[in-house]
Amino acid sequence: MPEKIVPEELMLEVEGIRAGYGRVEVLRGVSLSIAKGEIVALLGSNGVGKTTFISVLSGLIRPWEGAARFLGQPLRPNPAAVLSAGLVQVPEGRHIFPNLTVRDNLMLGGYRRGRNARKRNLEHVLETFPRLKERLSQRAGTMSGGEQQMLAIGRGLMAEPELLILDEPSLGLSPLLVEEMFALIKRLNGEGLTILLVEQNVHLTLDIADRGFVMENGAITLEGPAQAMLDDPELQRSYLGV
């Protein structure tokens, strides 16, 4: 990749994304960029368009306008192509396959990868989540919420992501598990994974993030270093309602 066109550190570059459902406009021109190795927080209250935005990135929703480049290539509005490029989403509500075993769930995570890659990735995922190893042949739907969240992330890792998007990974978890979850995100980032974290849990999120974006009404209204956002009580009150 020629360095002039793509600065080495830039991973995702989004410009002026407009999108919606039917005639209802949800995203009114979203632009942001993510550099390699970052944890970026996407904050905002319910219904401002965060999930719609990452659905556009994942190719689940076709944008009306705007463009996204991932690792220097245009991001096509096709989930399989996005996945093969290395952008993987772990959705809110997990969306694991409840009727399949844990092993089959993980195998499907690597659906777009070859047999050998899958075997290798499975080993790595089971090292990250020893709990899943004990439950390989259990039906995923019978596991606890925390275990299902681990499985959802494990399934995402099976696709060999460069950028992992986590949508509300701490939702519905007990406080102890929430802390574990954030520690895990930090650890995955330490292993070289770039992460876009969509969360309601503002403090914990900004604690581990490098930068933050605040979305309001379908547009990014504020961005900056996470530490600065954390230190600005005024900003937190007015933008994030905490």
């Binding site: 994942s58 989403q89 409840p98 499907l108 777009r112 696709a159």
Partner: protein
Amino acid sequence: MFDSAILVPSVLNGITTGALYALVALGLTLIYGVLHIINFAHGALLMVALYMVYFLWKLAGLDPYWSLLIVPPAMFVIGYALQRLVITRASHGRDENILLVTLGLAILIENVALYLFSSDTQVVDTPYGFDVVEMFGAFVPYPKVVAFFGALATAAALWAFIRLTDLGRAIRAVAREKKGARLVGIEVGHVYAMSFGIGVGVLGIAACLLMPSYYVTPQVGHGFVLIAFTIVVLGGMGSFTGALIGGLVIGVVEAVGGLWLGESLGQIGIFAIFILILLFRPQGIMGHQA
């Protein structure tokens, strides 16, 4: 109540017929389990497959069992194309439209068959058509024995395919969790069409196994699709094992009921069971609580 000399052949007859019912029901339950629609064209497509077997025999002299190499793949292609090119497009993504589209297809296919082939009953003439096999002291027609084992083998193969292959996993994933499936890169439209194609392809197998001991007319599918639907409900919508058990149960009930109440009333038992199941175990034998 019955002499075993009458009862045993009747039960064997029921089991062998039931296995074929199960095969027809397997396709229906697969399509229901994945696409969550009842394919009303199932009976009409079985009829198409039976005519294929008939004409391959009539025009090319091909034995119905050799047609196994041709008819199931052809039916698979027809099913895949129907789902991709007709059903999806005509339904505009609404499930209730799909019901109407498949019902419309059924009427269209039947009437075209009526126009082309007339309503005459057609049979194939095979050298083994009247052979019998002795089982438990009773004589069972050879084609029915072949059909029984063929149906079991098909069900086993289908089960293994769904359990052990990537596509099988993808089919099960799409059946329960569409968004999750799209997010791991499964093309849902392709999986839908493959499921429909496989369900219809299984009808091709059923037709090859059925034709040596049965007949074909443009309306032949009606009786089958009603029974197959009963089996699907009896076994639990979308359950393979349920369809297999349900098929055998229905076959035996029909045969023994016919013995008891007379041929024309034999099906009373089937629908009595159907009503009882709906009353007391609406999720079916192998179904899960909703």
